[in-house]
Symmetry: C2
Subunit: 127 residues, 2 copies
């Protein structure tokens, strides 16, 4: 099983890669057979290729997403749940929301499943 | 399906009943067939009676638990994830931790499943 420190490192690398707009680094954090449900209730993406398409879809809507882990960040067994603040560029404006992601990890601390708790109604314009 | 407001009310009532040490009010928020995994990785309690035994076990360790929802509190579809600060009396001392709970709800906004992300290692003495 991956250690708490390894899982924490994956979560931190995830936020860093998103903010750095580094698709390759971000995608490399997922297991080959990873699933992504973002947000909860949307179609589940299955497999790293589909997760990459999810990245492309999101970035067709907003070119820049800043992701700051604002907590709590909890790692238990092979799972993590963490709160973060997302700031997304939309045209000349910025939208912001707090979000909770829940993930499970494989033995190499790669993301096996990811589910994101947020709704469009949560997004607020940044002054 | 329960509305976002109904689910939010259940979550707030959950924290309030815990802090008020009101076992009956707390237990009444669960569906008859509810499951509880608290913390992640422990045996899953199945059914309201077993969830009540979980309450009794926890309160045999600590007579008073204050539960303040410190966020984020996210409700999506029939699910919720939220961060809170737990303060537990242990003898003359108090221990504190941030925790994330993830819940699903039935059509009456009663808790169907609850999973709690925390470890004993997270608990810190309160000065």
């Amino acid at each position: 099983m991956a250690t708490t420190d390894q899982i924490r490192s994956t979560v931190e690398a995830y936020a860093k890669a998103m903010t750095a707009n580094d698709r390759e680094a971000w995608l490399g954090l997922f297991a080959e057979t990873a699933t992504v449900e973002d947000p909860i209730g949307s179609d589940v993406r299955v497999g790293r290729e589909s997760v990459g398409e999810f990245w492309d879809f999101v970035h067709s809507l907003t070119p820049q997403i800043d992701m700051e882990i604002t907590g709590p960040l909890k790692v238990v067994e092979h799972e993590a749940a963490f709160g973060f603040t997302l700031t997304a560029s939309v045209g000349d404006a910025k939208m912001r929301s707090q979000i909770i992601d829940v993930m499970t990890f494989d033995d190499d601390a790669r993301i096996r499943t990811m589910r994101a708790y947020w709704t469009m109604a949560d997004m607020q314009p940044v002054d």
